[in-house]
Symmetry: C2
Subunit: 244 residues, 2 copies
């Protein structure tokens, strides 16, 4: 590899329900074989209609109690609870939850920022790996290129400040690079050295996408990570998880 390039995809419109995101990206960018296209999940979720309006939500008593004291809208907390498979930690109004996909993240991925309108919330895609696969098929159809796709979201981390973007959906990308059994230059066998390259790619894309610029996609060019893989493989299996 000579170098890696991370190129923002500019000129995309605000995404609305029913939009063909692959078509919009193919029109806005020139793609090469081997590119990885990273798309912020909010663009995908909005296109897929994974948006709820607060006005349509009835908050439970539990949601009201969690929201109390912070001025948070109980209907927002209610939506978080509905998107949660399990609560991992709670310090009201902060809820760290495991989603149905197995992701552990703040608010079960429910987000009020960059929602299509005030008073609405964006949820995670129902099946982000399937979303990535559809985008990949759509991009291949429109460009003739073999492209990897990552759907990203900003997750907080245990023990560390700030969020980094990670892969919540992937298609056509080797998400984990396993060095197990390969040897470094002095011959030490690398035990259990597996690199979450899809998460590093998502984080690199975030650096050019930003939160406020209206750039919901970026191209990562110059990697050799084509392969099969799904972001669900990035979820630590419960039996190996020391922190679940």
């Amino acid at each position: 590899m000579t170098e890696l390039r991370v190129i923002p995809v500019r000129g995309l419109p605000e995404i609305r329900e029913g939009d063909d995101v692959a078509e919009l990206i193919a029109s806005a960018a020139v793609l090469d074989d081997g590119d990885v296209v990273v798309v912020a999940h909010k663009a995908v979720s909005k296109a897929e209609g994974r948006v709820v309006r607060l006005a349509e939500i009835d908050a439970s008593d539990l949601a009201a109690r969690i929201a109390a004291g912070d001025g948070r809208d109980p209907r927002q907390i209610e939506t978080v609870l509905r998107e949660s498979a399990r609560i991992v930690r709670m310090r009201p109004p902060l809820v760290i939850a495991e989603t149905r996909h197995g992701f552990v993240c703040a608010s079960a991925g429910v987000d009020a920022s960059n929602a299509p309108e005030a008073g609405s919330l964006v949820l995670l895609p129902l099946d982000p790996d399937a979303s990535a696969e559809r985008l990949r098929a759509g991009l291949r159809e429109r460009t003739g290129r073999e492209i990897g796709v990552i759907v990203s979201d900003s997750f907080g981390r245990a023990w560390r400040q700030g969020t980094t973007d990670v892969a919540i959906g992937a298609a056509g990308v080797r998400v984990l690079l396993d060095l197990d059994g390969r040897r470094d230059p002095v011959g030490y066998e690398l035990h259990a050295t597996t690199i979450a390259v899809a998460d590093e790619i998502a984080g690199a894309a975030e650096l050019v996408m930003g939160k406020l610029e209206g750039v919901p996609a970026a191209i990562v060019r110059g990697l050799e990570v084509a392969g099969t893989g799904a972001a669900r493989d990035l979820v630590m299996p419960a039996e190996r998880d020391l922190f679940r």
Copy 2:
């Protein structure tokens, strides 16, 4: 920003104790103002002599018990315990520890891969932010350029498979980008949205550095992240940490 480039620094020799890493990088790469140079901590640790030889270690009984059954060298576990300020989780022989710096990571950052010789272990730098600052000063002196420096390591994460590289030392880089109070395009105030850009930069660099290629440094070009900041700011304060 037009695009981000991540450029591996090739041609560096195997780093040895006493080496001037800034001099080696300045000789191997052409740097620009605003570049962020990411250096794998192992190169820094080796140059600083943060290496121990197993032959010099006497393993405690505790270390022997933790190592038992896995064929792990008790002296390696002993070194992990000595580098730990606190054990966070233990599933022998796996030890997740908090280091004196406050980092929570496997084996307290002690690593046997890429050590200078078989039978030796590489430790984390004593003060990685100070290491980064020295590298920054050295690079400025030799190149006349204003450069940011990140010292990186590969950390596992709770709940997710695989490691991503993160910043354990930083100088001349805004490590956290705080969007608190800024507004997204539809006017929703972003609450507590802080992006750990230094970790995303470290991860992007890992994508070109790899583990096996003998490339311990990379240049990240095209960001506007110059500023003051230290990797210690990335450690979640204990009173806010739900997972400590």
